[in-house]
Symmetry: C2
Subunit: 360 residues, 2 copies
Amino acid sequence: MAASTLTEVARLAGVSPATASRVLNGSARKPGEDIAERVRQAAESLGYVPNAQAQGLAKSSSGLIGLIVHDIADPYFAAVARGVQAAAREQHRMVLLATTGGGPAEEREAVAAFAARRADSIVIAGSRSCRDEDKEGNAELAAELDRYCRNGGQVAVVGHPVVGATAPEGYHVVKVPNQELAGRLAAELARSWDGDFVIVGGPEGLLTSDDRVRGFQEGLDKAGRRPAEVLRSAFNRSGGYDAGLELAARIKAAQSGDAHATAKLCIFAVNDVMAIGAAAALRSEGLRIPRDAAIAGFDDIETLRDFRPALSTVRLPLEDIGRLATLATGPRSAGDAAEAASPGGITGEVTLRRSTEAAA
Amino acid sequence: MAASTLTEVARLAGVSPATASRVLNGSARKPGEDIAERVRQAAESLGYVPNAQAQGLAKSSSGLIGLIVHDIADPYFAAVARGVQAAAREQHRMVLLATTGGGPAEEREAVAAFAARRADSIVIAGSRSCRDEDKEGNAELAAELDRYCRNGGQVAVVGHPVVGATAPEGYHVVKVPNQELAGRLAAELARSWDGDFVIVGGPEGLLTSDDRVRGFQEGLDKAGRRPAEVLRSAFNRSGGYDAGLELAARIKAAQSGDAHATAKLCIFAVNDVMAIGAAAALRSEGLRIPRDAAIAGFDDIETLRDFRPALSTVRLPLEDIGRLATLATGPRSAGDAAEAASPGGITGEVTLRRSTEAAA
DNA sequence: CTGTTAGCGCGTTCAG
DNA sequence: CTGAACGCGCTAACAG
């Protein structure tokens, strides 16, 4: 009761399997139109569906592209995934999805699984970590990727290269100017904001977070402001919420204290989701934005754009990032075309909105 | 320069490929521990990665599960995808992702592609459509699914069966009580809301939308309220926004009109994303919620929970839905276990929040 | 232009 | 308990 095979189609059409293969798949040479039609009819009537596994085995190329994310329900990754999916579709490839929660060990597992499935390429979308506890995991991940590339696989990493990875043939990095953009955000904010700044960052060692923190501090410095204090918490909504609670307590203390000359705080959360969490915490403590504190994020997540007060942030073309990563691992021409389309690589845009307006 | 094969491992270990296969994969028969260790060492030193394509060919079972969504960046689908992914991972299966934009023709394509890859099962997460224009597409999709099931594939559809599909062996439907829940939402709203209701629905013929519209009307009826007018627009944020603009105009007209006795409107958008769009439109027209109008959604999308005013909605366990669909298509035991775990199937919960509070 | 042959890498009978 | 042979479905070299 299994699906019908090419051989069966060929038999029904009264030709050899090779001929059937030539007409049903884009072979270089075209059989006669008369016989071709017969084969097509046979295939149709049998409901023939080619076995991609067998094709892959024979051609050693699967048409599969593996995508590794921390969490597909996180809108950041969902947006990147959309780009990957769209580009894959254009290239007639299919996306294999793996979610890892961000641990290098699980990422290594995912790479191995993709390698086993003979995925033609792999896109790693999640932020890299260089924490000590991840050191071993990173090394193993690097080794796995290295082997994968040596076997002809293509890899694209968003943001930073995998820590410790040598850069073999077929290893691409889609650079995201997190640091520079965070610096520009700081510069723009410094223009309209007199008070102090606080940064709500992810765990130390998360490269994306670290870049944004560093860039923001640089921006402040160039604007002649003193460095911001950095609060560390989880790189998600709940981390932002925790940090927000802490900040709310401080703000309320300052407000009720005698030294109420303390200027208002501007909070920079290293991503939008954390910023929303922090904002929720402030609100739950009875504070209002931007009256009692300003807040800015990073990424410009689409779903969050209707949030009020509108969140100041840095727009990142997440979909393009996914698309670019995919194209980089695709056929030669596609990668070049992508490079030609956006020569400088990914770029973002500081977007100031209501949440950081100085007016009380 | 390709990956090393089982044969190479066997040669290095000085055994036959069959033996190597037996030790490296969970075969029924266990070779001697001494030789097993030698094989493992050889595999390790060669960096052997089994070829899943070949395994699949030999065993005719790929360990792949195909997931079809309208748009992976839509938080609804992203949440379902997370559940599917999690369940797949537990079963040591991998997820193949396809996004179709909702058209039956593209869904058919996706099913065919999954079938070609010999996915063991397919989960279809997007709402079904019974519009006339989709009739032909639905029929072809149904035929494709039918064939897939006949060839031993497992299918799970979230919400409604594919229109026109016979229900072959291996065809499961994860039922979602949209109608009943919408009815309960209407009932609860009717308790605290005196004014009229308006429904912002998706295009007519979108089954999920239709169910929610119908259920809401039923709920109103049972509560002794008159039926709500139904506005139709796209089943996404932008559709909600369009409808919101229209409603804003009406509300403003009513407010400035002499007959200002017109009671306030309560808007029910058939999903959260549309509700947020509608809310944004009202706001952009200078109206406030719930002062000038109340609004409720459906789904309880996680990312939207920090939205203010907090959105009244119906909580749907999206992740569980994905998980259940996946388990239903899995090994016999898994499906039964899932059924045992939630015997009545999916259930939701009406959640009233600030956006529909009657107090001005 | 078509048919035949030989693998792709692995699981799984069968003998030994 | 091990090894040799065959087949999974298809493509790519040859031969006709």
